[in-house]
Symmetry: C2
Subunit: 126 residues, 2 copies
């Protein structure tokens, strides 16, 4: 199938499919006219790529184990686990950081509200 059909079937833009190829995630054959020729297998492959992207892995990381994962189950690919664990560590750090900011923001919002109430009650007294 040609790239347009693959894009439509997967919901991934043509641009992105070309990018995945450039990053070594896909290796479509070429027709004589230069058009990319994708097997039906590519459809599953694209969905798999998308899945890993939503997990926050980079195309480079995905390229590192995709060939294995497409043939076996994840658990059979040594490359996957360390990346998952590394990503999990990153995510935890990010969450921690965000929680920190969040509580800071909440404190500030609260104290603004308090000060404004205080102001309002002073106004009442006048």
């Amino acid at each position: 199938m040609k790239i347009g059909e693959l894009a439509q079937r997967t919901g991934v833009s043509i641009r992105s499919i070309r990018y995945y190829e450039q990053q070594g995630l896909l290796s479509p054959l070429r027709q004589e006219n230069g058009y990319r020729e994708f097997s039906t297998f590519a459809e599953e492959q694209i969905r798999t790529i998308q899945l890993y992207l939503t997990l926050g892995l980079s195309t480079e990381q995905i390229a590192y184990f995709l060939h294995c994962v497409m043939k076996n189950k994840e658990a059979f690919c040594q490359e996957v686990l360390p990346l998952y664990e590394q990503k999990l560590t990153e995510i935890n750090l990010q969450i921690q950081n965000l929680e920190h900011i969040k509580s800071n923001l909440e404190e500030r919002i609260l104290s603004i509200h308090n000060e404004q109430e205080h102001l309002a009650s002073n106004q009442k007294l006048l």
Copy 2:
């Protein structure tokens, strides 16, 4: 004081200070030779900018209320509260998203471990 001294006193790079000026957060005077001339007040201003940056506000957002905040307390600046609340909403969305990814990753890691144990015990039987 000149930019180098200000950078040293605040720990913020010269590059960043110039950038803040470009974004309208600072308006140093200029000496006749073109050098920026900062008041001691700029030091506090830089620290305030940094504080808001760590809260995840953009220089554009900071520019929007900095003039007020530098003169009054936050609570007196109408512009601040909506930005805080907007940022808080964003942060909560990000956290939610990260938690989602996190649990997905954890599940996958767990299931890989399980499968590998399963594999190992099968090997023992041989």
